[in-house]
Symmetry: C2
Subunit: 205 residues, 2 copies
């Protein structure tokens, strides 16, 4: 699409650089911005540059935070023996909303993905090893996606964490609650049989 | 959702102010921006403020244009006897892509919609009347949405244009090409019977 206006072309190109936003949607969004006042559009744009320029990551766990240490790391009442390793802050929000975890987090900032050019050095892995050795941690829970990349990262972390004397666990994989066997893929179903737990222990949770 | 970071909250709020973007999607898009370089985010933001601050509308037809007069109005080879009235520039793109119209356009900038607080004075209607009287126009084609608001605007324009000695037409409404009768709503089907055209004339187009 060419709108015969460099300004509009540029705005649509930038908007459609967002993941999942096509040219048509981008045009709709940009025209919406055009119908707003100059001040509103300025606020819109400033929100992102300010975020990018002034954003702070927690020095401890790399959660997004306005302060040096995030609101979770600063909370002394949580369980110091547990660290849950996640890919990004959306996973923290998701796990927090379950109210099933009271330990601390460590945000990797991604997962190992050679296809996207992301190697172990691009992630906050060294900092995790330091935390595992320095803090009174007993168990590190790997809560990454159940994908090839997630498995690779899990394995890498497991090897790296062998040096520190901590237990390493992985979140359970199996049939989602409410799902029917019939519609579950074979790999998930196969693993859920292999990794079955005793009926009593599943009751207690 | 509260992310315990004013910067992030603000960015997500701004992103979700776009039509059709919810908080979850907004967070995903904002986190994508965070993963880009400062320069890239600056370019992203600048695209919208630049567009809003420096955008120009064609003095003649109100199409978006970097120049004073848009690329369509400046084209002398088009048919000066026809003006097609549309709601916004997306409609120009849609009609241009049909390659069935070689006249000029007039962008209203919206349609009369009391529910949204948009009255005739908010639209580029007076300018249309002036063009109808000043330019060598023979026919004005109203190409607005087939909605209540579109019909209201059509009727208003028809009354206003009665002063100028031009023919006023409305784009055909009926069954979309490729649609089956069975699945067409009664109102559309009813109108398509009332506004039937002679078989020969439908062949010639």
């Amino acid at each position: 699409m060419d709108f015969k206006s460099k300004l509009l072309n540029n705005a649509v190109d930038q908007m459609s650089s967002l993941p999942g936003v096509g040219k048509r949607t981008a045009l709709r969004l940009v025209l919406h911005l055009l119908s707003e006042s100059k001040e509103e559009v300025q606020q819109f744009s400033d929100a992102f540059t300010n975020l990018r320029n002034e954003i702070n990551f927690c020095k401890n766990c790399f959660n997004i935070s306005d302060a040096e240490i995030c609101h979770i790391c600063v909370n002394e009442t949580r369980d110091k023996s547990l660290i849950c390793v996640v890919q990004d802050i959306r996973d923290i929000l998701a796990i927090e909303s379950t109210q099933q975890f009271r330990g601390y987090y460590h945000v990797l900032g991604g997962i190992i993905s050679p296809m996207d050019g992301i190697g172990p050095d691009d992630l906050n892995i060294d900092e995790l090893i330091v935390r595992a050795q320095k803090e009174p941690v007993k168990e590190i829970i790997l809560a990454l996606s159940a994908t090839m990349e997630g498995d690779t990262t899990n394995f890498y972390l497991f090897r790296k964490l062998a040096e520190a004397s901590v237990k390493v666990s992985v979140i359970a994989r199996g049939i989602g609650i409410g799902n029917e066997l019939e519609f579950t893929d074979e790999i998930t179903l196969g693993r859920s049989i292999l990794h079955r737990s005793l009926f009593e222990s599943s009751l207690s949770k």
